[in-house]
């Protein structure tokens, strides 16, 4: 059963440069589905559109084109959604210092969403619920922390609170956008474990956006790799790590700093560019060490190469076909 169905989703941001109107194609025709209880990792470098995708799905940003279905109900075209659907889709942002109101105590920041959604029978009940969850997630002494303001807490504590803020609403779908990239390694592990415990115990589906390949693999069931607004590869996490097929994925994995084995780097030209004009052919072709003529002419489609392993690359497709 699919909880989320995304079809040909596009988001263009208008940009004026030298008097001419351009569009930044942040997300450009992305289609995928997410199953119930599944954790899907979105991997990519900055500028690949992974955060925009997260904002589109959590309905904080209106798409330019395309369709999003949440449990067979269409949620695209408008940002005016019923309160109940808003509750069911939650997001955790990267920097908790920006996502908490500095003038509210953190307790209030957690309390207000519960009150709005009428979760819990009374205000006392709600407060106890928050305190109980805070205790459970290692935020002690909870009564003291409840009354604190965001600037008084550490990044790790605050990020834990933002996880609780989202998860207390018992969402069905959670978008976690680089939720630990600000934190120190020793804190990161505990925050991830808290997130995973809550997501698993509440049967929430999650979209885990990250640029950290090892972390993406650790957290996700399935991984989707993006490059300049397009999906280039999509497969179960272990498959994509053991047997990456798209040149970009292979390069990404070969360049990620890791502790384990020394890998041979695959040479790559240039850096990520922002696409302003309509691209012709494969977006990765100009940097791809394997690019052929066809790559500059026609855009590759996302094709299922083997069971549940999708790749958008002419060369991989040709090799698989022969």
């Amino acid at each position: 059963m699919n909880i989320l169905e995304v079809k040909n989703l596009k988001k263009y941001f208008p940009l004026r440069k030298f008097g001419k109107k351009h569009y930044v194609r942040a997300v450009d025709g992305v289609s995928f589905t997410v199953e119930e209880k599944e954790i899907i990792g979105i991997l990519g470098e900055s500028g690949c559109g992974k955060s925009t995708l997260g904002l589109l799905i959590s309905r904080l940003e209106l798409e330019t084109e395309g369709e999003i279905k949440f449990r067979d109900q269409k949620i695209s075209e408008t940002l005016r959604l019923p309160k109940d659907i808003r509750r069911r889709i939650q997001i955790i942002l990267q920097n908790p210092y920006d996502s908490f109101d500095p003038r509210l105590t953190v307790g209030d920041s957690l309390f207000i969403p519960l009150k709005i959604n009428q979760i819990g029978d009374s205000d006392d009940d709600r407060r106890n619920m928050i305190l109980e969850y805070m205790e459970k997630s290692g935020l002690t002494p909870s009564k003291d922390l409840y009354r604190r303001y965001p600037h008084e807490l550490s990044g790790g504590q605050l990020q834990r609170l933002s996880i609780l803020r989202a998860m207390l609403l018992k969402p069905d779908f959670l978008v976690a956008d680089e939720c630990v990239s600000m934190l120190d390694v020793s804190v990161r592990a505990d925050v991830i474990n808290l997130l995973m415990d809550l997501v698993q115990s509440l049967d929430t589906s999650m979209m885990f956006i990250t640029h950290d390949i090892s972390l993406g693999r650790y957290v996700s069931d399935r991984i989707l790799v993006m490059y300049l607004g397009k999906i280039v590869e999509m497969a179960p996490a272990d498959v994509i790590m053991e047997n990456p097929l798209h040149p970009y994925t292979r390069i990404l994995i070969s360049y990620s700093p890791t502790l384990i084995k020394k890998k041979t780097r695959i040479p790559i030209k240039g850096e990520v560019q922002t696409l302003l004009s309509e691209p012709k052919g494969c977006r990765f072709a100009p940097r791809c060490p394997y690019a052929q003529d066809v790559c500059y002419q026609t855009e590759p489609n996302l094709v299922e190469i083997s069971s549940n392993h999708f790749v958008a690359c002419h060369i991989v497709e040709k090799e698989a076909g022969s």
Partner: protein, 322 residues
């Protein structure tokens, strides 16, 4: 030959009436052509130590005691105008945030020229341009960069300009302070490869400051692990990263997803950094250490030699066995 000798260095910041013990009694040596990785979480004092070596500490910081012999000279006692003779000529540093380190209103070429002029005022314009082009070539930047302003460069290019600036006077010792942290995976990998090559080709001795152990294992041959301003473990990469002895190093590695067996969970380090404004009794890590005993809270462990490395822990023998 020892390029850098750090001898029981303590650095403190005066903040109001309090003193922050940012670096406390740290000693280690850097041999010629070593690439030493300085690892630690935020607040571990790694950047303070690096800035201390470069004599770039802010006015409210001072050396409590110890000496730093850099290329044979004790730089702790040196007068500022004497430091200026050597800094950026014999040793230099690549800063983390290249956007903030470069002047936004001067072209890259002018900034590089200035760094040359200060130390080699007799160079002719032609010689200078030649040297600038050579250095840019080292970091694989085209010479058109000379005429550009920093805002016209991408993050990776800016970081390369910073590296070129640090190398322009042919220094013997370079500190890379989180030089690749803000970059994308592929760019980071490329720059790490370039640093690796430069260190080899130019016979540089280097210190790489990072919180990412992955980065260390890519380019360093030795690792120094710091915690709360103190040195926990120092030794060859293979030993420290693959057979850690100090409980802190162990815990730090356990919180990295790369080192896990299939199905194993990441482990955080419970607790918080100690308050560095208070005098510390015993081992800095004791309150968070699973092996800690009575002695760990009452006496400060002296660094002891274990094979090729140095470990500051009373329980080394027991940790070794687990």
């Amino acid at each position: 030959m020892k390029v850098l000798q750090i001898r029981s260095v303590s650095i403190r910041y005066v903040v109001g009436k309090k003193e922050v013990r940012a670096v406390e009694d740290v000693s280690f040596d850097v041999q010629e052509r070593d690439v030493v990785g300085l690892v630690g979480e935020s607040g571990s004092g790694k950047t303070t130590l690096a800035h201390g070596i470069m004599r770039l500490l802010p006015p409210n910081a001072y050396f409590k005691n110890g000496e730093i012999l850099l290329l044979g000279k004790n730089i702790v006692k040196m007068k500022e105008n004497e430091v200026r003779k050597y800094r950026w000529k014999d040793y230099s540093i690549v800063f983390q945030k290249s956007m903030n380190a470069l002047s936004p209103v001067h072209r890259v070429g002018e900034q590089m020229k200035e760094a040359l002029l200060i130390h080699q005022p007799n160079l002719s314009d032609e010689q200078m341009m030649k040297r600038i082009r050579e250095t840019l070539d080292l970091v694989r930047l085209p010479s058109r960069v000379i005429r550009l302003y920093p805002h016209e460069l991408s993050g990776g290019m800016m970081q390369r300009v910073m590296i070129a600036l640090a190398l322009i006077n042919n220094p013997k010792f370079v500190i890379f302070d989180e030089a690749t942290t803000a970059l994308d995976v592929v760019t980071q990998g490329q720059i790490l490869d370039e640093i690796k090559k430069l260190v080899k080709d130019l016979s540089l001795t280097a210190m790489v400051i990072t919180h990412d152990i992955g980065v260390v294992s890519e380019i360093c041959n030795k690792v120094a692990v710091m915690y709360a301003g103190r040195l926990m473990e120092f030794g060859p990469l293979d030993k420290v990263v693959y057979e850690p002895l100090h409980p802190y190093t162990k815990a730090l590695l356990k919180s990295h997803p790369d080192f896990l067996e299939p199905g194993e969970k990441m482990m955080g380090i419970p607790g918080n950094l100690p308050d560095l404004t208070l005098p510390m009794k015993g081992c800095a890590f004791a309150p968070r250490c699973p092996y800690a005993e009575k002695i760990c809270f009452s006496e400060t462990p002296k660094p002891v030699e274990v094979g090729e490395r140095v470990v500051a822990c009373f329980k080394v023998k027991e940790v070794e066995r687990t």
